[in-house]
Subunit: 420 residues, 2 copies
């Protein structure tokens, strides 16, 4: 029997995570299903960023490097992030962007693999991986004389690993389909083949349970502005397994990764731990907003943390799938995201052979913000921190109306914009 609006409201009323929604400034009239692209602003961010601007920068000026803790931000935020991915304190830094951090860890992994008794030079990834990951891998393969091997069918990944494989590079949850890999199994398969594994957690951190050490992963990077709610273009993060961290000096070896940055030594001496994965001065105002975002996830700890958030995320996406199928069943939508919980991230993607772009625009005009991914994907992210069951019901009702009335065929919904 299909869920009713009343039942959705009941589920919200009894949801122990419900009060976390109060931490966020969800705009009135908006049902935000794009937290996988840019998370909603925490209510704490405006005041906290204003303080960083006016007090720390404006009044403190250069003194704030000491008095406002700017120097420790990458590590302080990294320690907070670590709790979301199973890592320990001192294992993560928040810094730079995801692509740049990927360049650092992939360089490290390739160097370690090239220094083996029998050097390995291929990077295995998926053709459907987020393109920037492939571009960085392509660049490093060109530099190092390696080769990028792209797999089309995810089920073929393990079988592609062999004695030439240096690194398996995967994004845990696919940006386009929402399909999630089995991190434990694929890490094991890579290690069995003698390869190292780099995980991109862009669509995982803050959205699904991740246990990097438990999976025995080697390296990970991830994004600060999606489910971590860190603000537009927020700095990213990087994790290196403690067994590897001292083995390699990553090539973006700027002064903030030096053992003693303020000794101004002309020769580079890498910092002992994860700090060597820092490069230069970090954008303090952006880091400040990111910390507000991380704190929203830490606020969920008392209500069950990532385990509870994941359970709610699955309940939300289950409900969305059920309602779309029962209420928009005859409208040519195909479910792209796996039904199986273990293979689903925190988003649901639907394909439609025509009109996908315009349908998304029509929904946005109604305040239901998802996004379109070429050529035919309607993508909806479900951030369990600020979405409720009634939101899901209402979103599907809007989708039903947009399709049933052919509202999406209005000409204004087919004008493409530069970015979606």
């Amino acid at each position: 029997m299909t869920a009713t609006l009343a039942q959705c409201r009941d589920r919200d009323a009894s949801d122990p995570l419900r009060m976390l929604r109060e931490l966020f400034a969800v705009p009135p009239g908006v049902i935000y299903l794009d937290g996988n692209s840019l998370g909603v602003m925490p209510k704490s961010a405006p005041a906290r960023v204003a303080q960083a601007v006016s007090e720390e920068w404006g009044t403190g000026l250069i003194r704030s490097w000491n008095t406002a803790g700017w120097f420790e931000m990458p590590r302080r935020l990294g320690d907070k992030l670590a709790t979301l991915v199973g890592a320990g304190p001192g294992e993560v830094v928040c810094t730079d962007g995801t692509s740049i951090n990927l360049f650092k860890v992939l360089s490290a992994a390739l160097s370690m693999a090239a220094s083996n008794a029998s050097p390995r030079r291929t990077v295995v990834s998926e053709r459907s991986n987020f393109p920037t990951d492939l571009y960085i891998a392509e660049s490093l393969c060109r530099e190092r004389g390696g080769r990028l091997v792209l797999v089309d069918d995810p089920s073929g990944i393990a079988g592609t690993l062999n004695e030439e494989t240096a690194v398996l590079l995967l994004t845990h949850v696919n940006y386009r389909t929402g399909a999630m890999h089995d991190m434990h199994a694929l890490t094991r398969a890579a290690h069995d083949a003698g390869a190292l594994v780099v995980w991109d957690l862009a669509h995982s951190a803050g959205a699904v349970e991740v246990d990097l050490p438990g999976a025995d992963a080697d390296f990970a990077v991830g994004c600060g502005y999606k489910y971590l709610n860190g603000g537009p273009g927020a700095p990213a993060f990087v994790w290196v397994h403690p067994r590897h961290v001292a083995r390699f000096v990553q090539p973006l070896s700027g002064w903030f990764g030096h053992e003693a940055p303020f000794a101004f030594d002309p020769a580079y001496r890498p910092a002992a731990g994860i700090s060597r994965y820092l490069c230069g001065t970090q954008p303090v105002l952006a880091m400040t907003a990111l910390e507000c975002g991380l704190d929203t996830l830490l606020a969920a700890q008392a209500a069950g943390g990532m385990r509870a958030l994941r359970a709610k995320s699955l309940a939300l996406t289950d409900l969305f799938i059920e309602l779309v199928e029962t209420r928009c069943g005859a409208q040519g939508l195909t479910l792209v995201t796996p039904r199986e919980h273990a293979r689903r991230g925190s988003q649901v993607c639907l394909a439609r052979s025509d009109g996908a772009y315009a349908i998304v625009q029509a929904l946005i005009a109604r305040g239901v913000i998802g996004d379109f991914r070429a050529p035919d994907i309607l993508r909806f992210g479900f951030a369990p921190l600020y979405l409720g069951f009634e939101d899901v019901w209402n979103a599907v009702e809007h989708l039903r109306e947009v399709l049933a009335t052919a509202e999406w065929k209005r000409p204004e919904f087919d004008r493409r914009q530069a970015v979606t």
Copy 2:
């Protein structure tokens, strides 16, 4: 005859740049001589950043990529920056950090030099260059099988260039001494030797006149948080001469440097122009503050622009040197910065065989904020946008008193902090 306080006040009163000080929130009681480390906050920054947080992020959310112009920020800010260094529109992007941008351009320069008929592999720089530049050069030399050649005496740089030299890498104004290189002459010397030149403008952009195309330079990078007043850890900038920009794909080839980032093409196709020097999503809040800083420099255009700012900067540093020598003459201070205008940046450094650290701390306690650079340097930056002649008089009077009364010997001024 030594300048008097009254004369300093007269000079402020007749200074056509004086009103620009009103653009800045100089904290009460502070004489800020550290704009070469972190520029003063423009008064426009708090409201503009608050708007970016609450309206663009908070309300606009993902839609702001289009509606708030986020996507164009690196180019829009780059075009503003270009006017300060003699470059044209479309030649500069503001993005990432200085060290990361240096990695990009030095990679490009080394690749171009290695592809010559007779490959060149050495990078020539100064041992006294800002260390992060040397660390990045060291990293790329290790990766490419090159060699970093460090020169001790600046007058020996041109003579060090030879048929092995791939790149001459120099910071235009030395961070420690304030000495400025002759960009035109050294660029010519490098080209005569068949080498390329990378200029780091960290202590130049917004402080001294720079004409990159006029000097026929090849590549340049620079910092956003010093004389550009862009806020703590503000994004940096990168310029590539149009003759080189299409010749090389820089290795940090993330999706924002792709010809069509939102086509999500698994293969990298570099953007046509300077946009290929972008990597990933930029920290929008930090970019917003940087734009406020850039706008303070553009506001000087009507009053003579960089030429007028440079003239005032030299007048300020001339006055500081004169007053230190006449009023603190017997106190063991040695002038480190060149007296010759053509060889001086916008800062004055003094050396003292003992107590340099404590003297700087004693001055900071009095509100005169400069900084210490090991082992014996008192460093004072003079940002002509917000400093006046009376500030210089007062700063020297504080220095005189700190020295004459031995105030600096108080124990509280010898406690070292993590960062200065």
